[in-house]
Amino acid sequence: MSEDRLSRVFAALADPTRRDIVARLAVGDATVGQLAAPYNVSIQAVSKHLKVLEDAGLVSRSQDAQRRPRHLEAEVFDLMTAWIERYRRQAEERYRRLDAVLASMDDESEPITNKGAAS
């Protein structure tokens, strides 16, 4: 049962347009029209994407009957956090290579006078 919902979440986020919609709702609630604006697709197409996200429990609509702005469910922020964390780790990996380069520069280049002592 919960597995069923999980697989809907998987499927919902497998699409790049829907991931983009999620990213934009993370910034703030938005109406279907606002969400459709940057895409070269119809409001209906965006509504379809939103329906998939809503069925997966990732997006809800507020009670405001007129505009019905879409709202990102809080759980998704965990995904967003994971997303930033992934990017951070990539940067950290790169900088660890730089650590190694800096360490090797010690060995082969001019004397470094004030190497900081740890502790």
Binding site: A23, E85, G116
Partner: protein
């Protein structure tokens, strides 16, 4: 928005700041080397080539004129094959303090980011680098951060899984 990493941490782990309202990414990291040395590792091509390129790729530098007004171009090689090429200009090279570059991936030639790197002397032979990337809009910024998002999403699922189990 900040992250609370549960993985191993050292005192100088990379910090990422992505402003929800501005198309910027800020990357902060401390190094156990003085500014002049860190700066050299950023501008001398034979040093840059050892660390800058993406993981599991080799960096082939075609052009590298690290002076104010100069330019650069490099390719990432995977098994000897070019998988991505990047280019830009050195807007300002201020030794040991500040490096300002434009950056474009040739796969998206209309996209350009402005990369400002500042090197802060922390004393005791240590340096803090602060890299600020400014891109065209929030969508572009999110797209950059989402590269490799599939993996990030899968990692995130573990948390989501637990939340769903509660509900």
């Amino acid at each position: 928005m900040s992250t609370n990493a549960t993985n191993e941490t050292t005192t100088r782990e990379t910090t990422i700041q992505a402003d929800p309202n501005l198309p910027t990414i800020r990357i902060i990291r401390d190094f156990d080397a003085p500014p002049d040395k860190v700066f050299r590792a950023w501008i001398e091509p034979e040093l840059v080539a050892q660390w800058l390129g993406p993981k599991s790729t080799e960096m082939k530098i075609d052009e590298w004129n690290a002076r104010t007004g100069g330019n650069y171009r490099y390719a990432a090689l995977q098994d000897g094959e070019e998988v991505a090429t990047f280019y830009g200009s050195f807007h300002e090279v201020r030794p040991n303090e500040r490096l300002v570059q434009t950056f474009t991936w040739e796969g998206m030639p209309d996209g350009v980011s402005l990369e400002t790197m500042t090197f802060e002397d922390l004393g005791d032979g240590r340096t803090r680098t602060i890299g600020l990337s400014v891109v065209e809009n929030l969508e572009a910024r999110d797209g950059i951060m989402a590269s490799g998002m599939e993996v990030g999403v899968y990692e995130g699922y573990e948390k989501l899984d637990a939340l769903l189990a509660k509900g």
